[in-house]
Every structure is written in structure tokens, then in C-alpha cells.
Symmetry: C2
Subunit: 317 residues, 2 copies
């Protein structure tokens, strides 16, 4: 009887789920549209039905639990709280709801924490006791691991490195504050940096400004476009500097970068590392690794969510 | 037979030591001059002699271990490493040296970490699992506690919040970087802020500039001196902002402020709290306490050092 964990990654548009074994093999995967459900009860019911349905396709196996990575997910309470990109407002006791529906233990946290546990269980952080995962995407998320344990903080909301201030009074962030790391290093932030460079030089992108994406900037950078290259340099410089503040708190063994832009390889890692080493306190220099995530991006969210189940219940079941 | 821990606080000028019981009572205390010893071997020998001598004055008691708070102290290795304000250069295996000399277990860490453990064992952080202690003095130090455990990081050097960057490219810090929190909120930083205000207004302090201390500025502020009051406001503003970056990492239940300037009471706490709440991510607002340390300042360093022994060996001895 093969033991499997359900991993659910809840995004504003889609909810992806899959069945994952202890070595990180995804046995089946599917998704439903999160945004289609006005009421969260309907969502939990339908998603549970889909999970049960897909599970019948896997022979000789049993489920040991459910892991959920969700925006604004609170590990202690199993809730999602005031998630700005979900339709269900207020505080939703999602872990309890799924637990009742599926009759399984449910662990829930935010997506970046799930990514960090995924890195620890299935990725490049195996055996590490102190590390940080930074997720670079629509937002900038983070998962912190100290003494081998996730840092949830007293309220379950620790690990918002994307909202540390890098430039006091700087660029407006979606959170309402100014100068946050996310305002510069999220997908939107990177695009803004690029468009700012063009504007300053009285230039316009070849496509409508609102259609510019990090992928577009990447393609331009590969073609040696000056402003695309400058954008990479500036993004790396800011991220490298911000990460030294994380080091001054936690002195991790490694920092893993996860998400679309990390696929640009040296083009983004080089300026990050340069700025990082330059801004580190001398005692930390040349000993903290900045690495790409070791979890395959396609399955990462589901793996991260499922990994929580293996970390929490794997040994006892 | 009363059980006692030895607490040693090593400073650049003095080394203070004392015998502390499990409830934080200091039974005897004395000191030697750190700076008088050219060789660390002599220092360890003489200090050990002094410890033995003073111990004979306490009847019916036994020693369970030694705790040392030292600049650049490394918990994992029991060493002090390249401490800029000590005469002994390089890496000194101080814990081993004292352990051999006194035949007792020795725990060593830096002074701010010792202060944090002191807060947890004897002070206002009793029962808290997630909190931060910030020490405001010659430097700005910090001790971080997560999930009930000290954060030492992978190398023993975690918790340097004083060297997080608050203003990129800002004021030069003693560490060689620019814009560190310490450059603004250490004793020297506060004095610099005050002198800068005077200079900008073509004024000079009534005493030679090099004799101005935070105490002098405090006395001026009490007399409603405009620039002294501005200095408090600016110091609080910067510290409050910097602390929100620590919250975005660890979401602690409370932040304890320790050291001379915290004796100014509301004059410093009010601007800190105002700036803190203003700069916090909304999910953290109005739930994280900023409090003065609950450990008496006079004995704090010795209590902090001794508390490590009680935390580590107290239950088993």
C-alpha cells in the first residue's frame, strides 16, 4: 500500500492539486478554477470531490494527509485571512473545512513557507538546518527555516521578507507601504524598473507598456538591450542588498531563489551575488550560498504543499 | 547546598563576574580589568583565581557551570573571534580555556544573545517563544528567539540587527558599511545626529563636541532643547522603522529594548512606537509589543551570562 500526501496549491486563478509520495514523485495532478467559486463551501466540496475522483485512478495507495499552500495562510490556525486575491473575504477556516470533508489531517501555510518545506523535504536544502527561500513572482515571498524548523512567528505570519523596506520613502508597494523589496523585485517591480529606464531616455517599448513582462525583458536582455541589462543589474543589486538584512538576522547556510526570473541564470544571479557580498557584514562574507531552488518549478507548489504533510505526519503514519 | 552559576561579562575595559541562583539573585559580584592583560592565558588564570576566591565567601553552595557573554562570541565553537575591542587577536577558544581552568561546563555567546536569554530566564520574556532583544549602547546588538530557542544561525553569528541597512549609502558605520542601524542608534550615532542638527543651524554645543554624550542630550531634551528633542524623534523614527524589518522576518510577540537610552522612557519609546506602527505591514499592526527590558541594568550582563547556564544545564544538575 503506497502512502501518498495530497498537495493543494491555491492561487487566485487556479487551484492545483496532486498526490505526492515520500520521495517527491507526483503520481497524479489536476486543477480546478479557484475564481469560479463565489462561496468557499462550494469550493471545498467540489475540490474534495475532484481529489476523491482522481485518487481512484491510483492503485494500491492510501492518503496520509493534506497540505495546503495558500495566500495569507496561517499555519497555527489553519485559516486564510483577508487574502487580497481571493473572492472569499475575512477569515476562512480552510484546514478544518477540508479536514471534515476528506476526513484527513490538514496542514496549511502560505505558499512561500510551503516552498521552503518543499526545498527541505525534496529539494536542495536537504539536511540544512538554517536556510531561506525567496519566491520571486507576482509578489516576493519568503520562507525561513531556523534550527531545522519553519519560522511562523507568534501569530503564524512570519516570513514577509518581500515587505522589508529597502528604500525608505521609495517606490509605492501594493501593501500600502513605500520602498518594500517587493516593489522592486516582483514581476511588476521589474517591469516598472525597465519602463522607468526607457522613459528616462524618452523611449517606449515596442509593445504596449502594459503588455511588457519579465519574459519580454529577458528576451531583450539576451539581445543585449542596454535597458533590459540595466534592469537585471538593478534588480540584482536591490535583491542582493535586501538579502544581507536577512543574513544579519538569521545567518543562514544558504538562500534559495525560486520563481520565473531565476531561470535567467547568471544574468540575475551574478548581480545578486555581487551586491550581496559587497553589502554583507565582514563576518558573513564568502560563506553563505545563493542558489537556485532544487524543486522543479512545474510541480513545485504541489510538492511544497504535500511536503508539509510528510514533514509533519510522515514519521508517525 | 545552593546551586549557583557563574556569569562573566567580558567588556573591552572590565570583566564583571558574579554568582547567580536559579531565580536571578546575584550572591556576589566583582570584576577585573580586561585591558590589563596582554596575554589571554594570564587573563583566564587570574580571572579563575578571582572566581575561586570570591566563591569561598558564599557558604553552602556549589557551582553548576559558567556562562560568558563576550564581544564576537561564538556559541557553537565557544570562541571569541577577531573582537575589535579586545587586545587578544584572532580566534580564542575561551570556553575551553575556562572549562579546563575551572573544571566546569562553559557556555559562551555574544553579549546581546546573553541579554536575550537573561530576558527569557529572569526578565519580561518569561514564557514567550518568539521575541527579540535589542541592546542600545556603544553598539546596537540583538538577540533573537524563535520557537523558544536562540537563533545562532549556521555559523553562530546570527542576530546582527544593528548592521541591517536602514539607509542605503547612508551614514558610515564602524563596521565599514554605510547606512547601518548602528550608525544612527548607537550612543555615537545619537550624538552625531544631535551635533548634525546643531551644525546645520550654525550652532555649537556648550561643551566640546567630543564630550557630548547621550546623557547630555537627555538632559537638554528634558530642558525642552529643540535639537535634543529632534534627536530623540529621529532616533526613534529610524529604530521603529528598522524594527519593522525584523518583524517581517520573525513576527515576534514582543521586542525588548535594553540599554542606557531606554531609561529616557516615553521620550524615546513614543517616537519608536509611532514609527514602528506606521511602517508595519497591516497584518502585524497593533499586536507586537515594544517594551523595556525587565532585567535590572546594573546586573544585566552578569545575569544574562549566568542565565545561559541555567537554560542549558539547570534542569539536569
Amino acid at each position: 500500500m503506497k502512502k501518498l500526501a495530497v498537495g493543494i496549491d491555491i492561487g487566485g486563478t487556479n487551484s492545483v492539486f496532486g498526490f505526492v509520495d515520500d520521495v517527491g514523485h507526483v503520481h497524479a495532478k489536476s486543477s480546478i478554477k479557484t475564481a469560479e467559486f463565489e462561496h468557499v463551501d462550494d469550493y471545498v466540496k467540489i475540490l474534495s470531490d475532484e481529489i476523491r475522483k482522481l485518487f481512484t485512478s491510483i492503485p494500491d495507495s492510501e492518503l496520509i494527509g493534506v497540505g495546503i499552500g495558500a495566500p495569507n495562510g496561517n499555519y497555527y490556525k489553519g485559516t486564510i485571512e483577508f487574502a487580497p486575491n481571493l473572492r472569499w473575504k475575512g477569515i476562512i477556516p480552510l484546514a478544518d473545512m477540508f479536514s471534515k470533508e476528506l476526513n484527513l489531517p490538514v496542514v496549511l501555510t502560505n505558499d512561500a513557507n510551503a516552498a521552503a518545506i518543499g526545498e527541505m523535504v525534496y529539494g536542495n536544502a536537504k539536511g540544512m538546518k538554517d536556510f531561506i527561500v525567496i519566491t520571486l513572482g507576482t509578489g516576493v515571498g519568503s520562507g525561513l527555516v531556523v534550527n531545522g524548523e519553519m519560522v511562523y512567528g507568534h501569530d503564524g505570519f512570519a516570513g514577509e521578507v518581500g515587505h522589508t523596506t529597502v528604500y525608505p520613502g521609495g517606490r509605492m508597494c501594493g501593501c500600502g507601504k513605500k520602498g518594500c523589496l517587493e516593489a522592486y523585485c516582483s514581476a511588476k517591480g521589474i517591469v516598472k524598473t525597465y519602463l522607468n529606464y526607457l522613459k528616462k531616455n524618452d523611449l517606449k517599448p515596442e509593445i504596449p507598456a502594459e503588455e511588457v513582462t519579465p519574459k519580454f525583458i529577458y528576451d531583450k536582455a539576451v539581445q543585449k538591450d542596454l535597458y533590459a541589462l540595466k534592469t537585471y543589474k538593478k534588480t540584482g543589486k536591490i535583491l542582493g542588498m535586501a538579502l544581507t538584512n536577512s543574513v544579519a538576522h538569521l545567518s543562514p547556510e544558504a538562500i534559495f531563489l525560486f520563481g520565473g526570473i531565476t531561470n535567467s541564470g547568471d544574468m540575475i544571479f551574478d548581480p545578486i551575488k555581487k551586491s550581496f557580498e559587497k553589502n554583507l557584514l565582514p563576518i558573513y562574507r564568502n560563506k553563505i550560498k545563493i542558489l537556485p531552488s532544487g524543486v522543479k518549478e512545474n510541480d513545485a507548489a504541489v510538492l511544497g504543499a504535500a511536503s508539509m504533510v510528510w514533514k509533519e505526519y510522515g514519521k508517525n503514519i
